[in-house]
Structure formats: structure tokens, C-alpha cells
Point group: C2
Chain length 144, copies 2
């Protein structure tokens, strides 16, 4: 399998695959006679795992540890390491959804404020204050 087919089957761009190799996430694959990368099925599985974990927000350094080269290619030990990653992400996800709900509510209020103010004249001297205080409290401060 050349890099193009691996890219098509994994949904990861070929340039990104080469980048992952340079970054130490993928081992250097065998080469064809003409110096082109030749991949096996195991490489596809590894790449799909990397893709899944990237989707979960795992950074490249941590990923490098999880998907180590020589050792730990079997699923047994890997599963033990993946479980906390997934559980951590589940917690994050709950918080993220709650945050988005707050943001959504604030945005609806903001939209209404903007609509109401569309025709109205400004208080003299009012600058950049295009937001009611309640909405600002959610949108503008960093208590999120």
C-alpha cells in the first residue's frame, strides 16, 4: 500500500501521515524500489487509532507515549492505557456540553439585544458597549 491509498483508507492526508512519521508517531515504513513508502495493514490500524485519539484532543506528545513503536503493539496493554484517556475525555465532554448550553443561552439574549437596539439611537458617549450586562457576564468574562 502506498501513502495515497493509506491516506484514502484512513481519511488522514498524505502530508499529515508524513508529518506524523517525522513527529515519531508512525515508524518509518519499508520502501519500494523507487524509494516510495510501502505500508501494511497494521499501519492502517495504528493510524486509525491515532486519528481517534486526536479527535479526543490527545496531543502528539502524549500520543507518542500511547502508540509506542517497538513494544506494546498488542491491544491488551494498550487498552489499560486508553481507558483513563477515554474516561477523562468523557468528563471533559460533559463540561463542554454544559458550557455550550450556557453560551447558547447567552447568544440568544445577545441576539435579541442587538435586534432591539438596531433602530434605537445610542446614549451619547456609549462606545463598544453593544451588550447588556447579563449577557456580558457570560460572554465577556472568564468565569467559563
Amino acid at each position: 500500500m502506498r501513502i495515497g491509498e493509506l491516506a484514502a483508507r484512513s481519511g488522514v492526508a498524505a502530508t499529515t501521515i508524513r508529518y506524523y512519521e517525522a513527529a515519531g508517531l508512525l515508524p518509518a515504513p519499508a520502501r519500494s524500489g523507487g524509494n516510495q513508502r510501502a505500508y501494511a495493514e497494521a499501519d492502517l490500524n495504528r493510524l486509525l487509532l491515532i486519528k481517534r485519539l486526536r479527535l479526543l484532543g490527545v496531543g502528539l506528545p502524549e500520543l507518542r507515549g500511547l502508540v509506542a513503536f517497538a513494544a506494546g503493539e498488542r491491544c491488551g496493554p494498550l487498552r489499560g492505557q486508553l481507558l483513563p484517556v477515554v474516561e477523562r475525555r468523557l468528563v471533559d465532554l460533559d463540561r463542554q456540553v454544559a458550557d455550550l448550553a450556557l453560551l447558547h443561552a447567552a447568544l440568544l439574549r445577545y441576539r435579541d439585544t442587538l435586534r432591539l437596539g438596531l433602530g434605537a439611537p445610542d446614549a451619547p458617549g456609549a462606545r463598544f458597549a453593544c451588550c447588556d450586562p447579563a449577557t456580558c457576564a457570560c460572554l465577556g468574562r472568564d468565569d467559563a
Copy 2:
């Protein structure tokens, strides 16, 4: 108001404020005798607006247009420009929440798969395939 106070009151780091000034989002403020930046209340309002819009995913180039320097400092014209930004973000937000719900469901399945597999031995030769097909279909492919 010096930059430290502006940073504290806005919740935006002082370094970021200087960066925004260099990036053309904030006008160059007056300087004290000792060359230190001196800000007014209007700058705080402008910065809070920038912060809100950054939270909504508005990029610096677009922001530069929205928060123009000399003209348009009044809220009236600004509101007309802000409304579509907010409405666009509301639509994005709905999609984002739906995506997160899908991801959440897939993650729950993935977690259960990992837990079940914790003690079990691997099929011989299985590598990096720590995911059942149904979960992979959501976590590993790019139809999200």
C-alpha cells in the same frame, strides 16, 4: 489605567493586549511620562467586545474590520454588523452540540469495549485495533 489593570479587569492577558495592539485590533493608547500605556474606559469596552467575539470564533482579520479604529465607534452601526456574526455562530453552535452528542455516545461505547477487553487475551496478530467496528465508524472516520 495601566496595562495590568486593564488585563485584570478584562480577563485578557497583558501580553495578549499588546499583541492585539500590534495586530491592529486596539489603537495605540496614550503613554505615561515613563512610556507606559495608559488606557481609558472605552478601551476596556472595546477589549471586552473583542473578547466576546473571539469566544465566538471570530478571527483577528474579521475582527479588525468589525472593531475599526476611527469610524464606527458608536454602537448603532456596529450592531448591524454584529447581528449576522451572532446568528451564524448560533447555527454553528447547534451543529457543534449535535456532534458532541454523537461523540459522547461513541465514547461510551468505546469505554465499554475497552473495559470488556481488559482481561481478555488478544486475537493473535491483532494490532492497534482496540475498537469495535461500530465505534470506529464514528470515532475513526471523517464523516463527522
